[in-house]
């Protein structure tokens, strides 16, 4: 039976078939969660979308009350992620510039890169605990306790490692010839970085940063005891120093309410959150694929 033809019954071929189907089965199982989650959010959340949702305050949970809208939470999420970005992007991009452009691979930069990875692994709730201890319980921010500002700071801790890493890696991809050329015609180091290397790495850095922001927008754990939650419209600047609602915390609070109206509101908020996060992700993926095929330099 030493035929060279493929023999179905041979144990190695049967085994191969078996493991191949097992692997296909794994892949099948792996794509199910996304399909189910997204479908349910589209159906259950999409049904709740109307103009009141975007303009009204949520009503306090009760038996037969209409749930209202999610305007304060929507604005709150925008404000809190903006605060987080304002803190994390300059620090992260600056730190990334040092690692990629100035450091020469010595122990300091090794240590910082290690620290970035460790910080990325710190559980998100620990960031909340830290800000609670540092800012909320000490009332260090002009006597205010729970505030949108504190929430933004907690989120910025989670964004920081992402921003540093993408800046560092984006700058490392810039060819050294560009730097030599710029320094060769007499530009100083900071001109080279600001005018030559940063702009040429801009797209990859921006993609990473935007993904980091999208990720932060969905974070809940650091907000539940720093920004807390609020049912009221955000009307002025001073509201930064008070409790502030966010979509993520609204979903958490209202999902656990026994009332149907609040649960529906949680689905609607999930719809908005997931659609925006997924579209940012898909868009950046397409952009990245497009850049790969039309690479210059």
């Amino acid at each position: 039976m030493n035929s060279l033809y493929y023999q179905k019954k041979l144990s190695r071929n049967v085994g191969d078939k078996f493991f191949t189907s097992l692997s296909v089965f794994c892949a099948f199982i792996a794509i199910l969660p996304l399909i189910f989650v997204v479908t349910y959010i589209l159906i259950k959340g999409g049904a709740q979308i109307n103009s009141d949702l975007f303009t009204l305050e949520p009503n306090p949970p009760g038996d037969d009350l209409d749930a209202g809208g999610i305007n304060p939470a929507l604005i709150g999420t925008l404000i809190i992620t903006t605060i987080a970005s304002i803190i994390a992007i300059p620090v992260g991009v600056g730190g990334g510039i040092y690692l990629a452009e100035y450091s020469k691979g010595g122990p300091f930069s090794k240590f910082i890169r290690f620290g970035v990875n460790v910080l990325a692994g710190v559980p998100s709730i620990i960031a909340g605990v830290f800000i609670y201890a540092l800012i909320v319980s000490t009332k260090i921010l002009f006597g205010s306790m729970y505030s949108g500002l504190a929430g933004g700071m907690a989120l910025s801790i989670l964004m920081l490692p992402t921003v540093i890493k993408t800046t560092d890696e984006g700058l490392k991809l810039v060819p050294n010839e560009l730097r030599y050329a710029s320094l060769g015609i007499g530009a100083s180091m900071y001109t080279t970085i600001l005018k030559i290397t940063l702009p040429s790495a801009f797209r990859s850095i921006a993609t990473g940063v935007v993904l980091g922001i999208a990720r932060a927008a969905g974070e809940t754990a650091p907000l539940i005891f720093t920004a807390l939650f609020s049912y009221y419209y955000i009307v002025g600047f001073e509201d930064l120093f008070y409790e502030m609602g966010s979509l993520a915390v609204l979903i958490y609070n209202f999902a656990l309410e026994p009332y149907d109206a609040q649960n529906k509101l949680a689905w609607a908020a999930s719809f908005i959150l997931v659609i925006s996060i997924l579209s940012v992700n898909i868009f950046s993926r397409i952009l990245a694929a497009f850049t790969e095929t039309t690479k210059r330099v």
Binding site: V37, G94, L99, A133, Y190, A221, I224, S270, V274
Partner: protein, 315 residues
């Protein structure tokens, strides 16, 4: 023209420009050191805040499961046990599933675009916020698994893990939602390490007559093992710190039980639940629990990084 050139030649860099250069460099230096400051700040602040509880209960805190704000007795055993059990069991399910999916993506069973779609589906799963997964778990997953849990209890009730009546929210549901969250991490890291295995290893194995799966099991997987291990450890760290989805579905009960079908607790869900309303020595005890969680995840993370450095592929 000539005159201009001479002017250009003689032009020296102004002092102010030099200063800007130095200032710029030092600013970026300070900004990058902020990472270390924040990291040590977190460790230090959480440790200091937990000191009161630490000095009162010492290491007993880790092995007693009394959590009673009225009597001022605190022990985090239930939460620590819950953290370890949910993360380890979910990892145990995720590893074969994730590695199997990664093999599917890196091998050529199906055309490339199908594999790419599967890959991006799994990666997009990582983008779904954990609180949304929690909402989904409460309203979709829990009803779906209810009958299955009843079946588990009826037929496997003699195993301590399934010995209690299935509760509406329980540890097993938390484990399942953790699998959903860990899957993208394990899959994408396993895929990257499988992709890095040089082609010539595969060709050599095929050349001496190994079948496809013999090649995968004896050549490719061992070569990619360190990367996969690192991914698994990162996933473990993530599982231990994961808060929202777990908090929403685990039932949050401090009563200790071996059974996965009864409500449980994890350190992070305990923090999420109690931190807002706690006062007095309860706060300090919560900080102590947070410190334990942080040490656990730091150890796992640092070990993962060490593993990557030590055993990274050298071909």
């Amino acid at each position: 023209m000539e005159e201009k050139l001479i002017l250009f030649k003689n032009r020296k860099r102004f002092g102010i420009e030099k200063n800007i250069d130095i200032i710029f460099k030092n600013t970026t230096l300070v900004l990058s050191s902020l990472v270390a400051v924040v990291l040590f700040g977190i460790i230090l602040v959480v440790f200091i805040q937990s000191f009161e509880s630490f000095s009162r209960y010492g290491l007993n805190f880790l092995v007693t499961s009394e959590w009673n704000p009225v009597k001022d007795e605190y022990g985090a055993f239930t939460a620590i046990y819950g953290t370890l059990v949910t993360s380890l069991l979910s990892l145990l399910i995720t590893i074969p599933l994730g590695v199997g999916t990664a093999i599917f993506i890196t091998e050529d069973f199906v055309p490339k675009f199908v594999r790419e779609i599967v890959g991006s589906f799994v990666e997009l799963l990582a983008a779904i916020p954990s609180v949304v997964l929690g909402l989904w778990a409460i309203f979709v997953m829990e009803p779906f698994f209810r009958d299955f849990f009843a079946f588990l209890h009826n037929f496997f009730g003699w195993i301590p893990l399934f010995s209690s009546e299935p509760a509406g929210r329980n540890s097993l549901l938390a484990i399942i939602i953790l699998v959903v969250m860990l899957l993208p991490i394990v899959t994408s890291i396993a895929r990257d390490s499988l992709n890095q295995v040089p082609k010539k290893l595969r060709n050599a194995a095929y050349g001496i007559g190994a079948s496809r799966w013999k090649t995968i099991f004896s050549v490719i997987l061992p070569a990619a093992l360190s990367g996969i291990m690192a991914g698994v450890l990162l996933a473990l760290g993530r599982a231990m710190g994961e808060t929202m989805a777990v908090t929403m579905i685990i039932g949050n009960s401090n009563a200790f039980s071996w059974s996965l079908l009864s409500p449980g607790y994890t350190i992070s869900s305990m923090l999420a639940n109690q931190f807002g309303e706690a006062d007095g020595s309860q706060v300090s005890s919560l900080f102590y629990a947070a410190f334990v969680l942080m040490i656990l995840s730091l150890v796992v993370n640092i070990f993962a990084q060490w593993l990557v450095k030590k055993f990274s592929l050298k071909y």
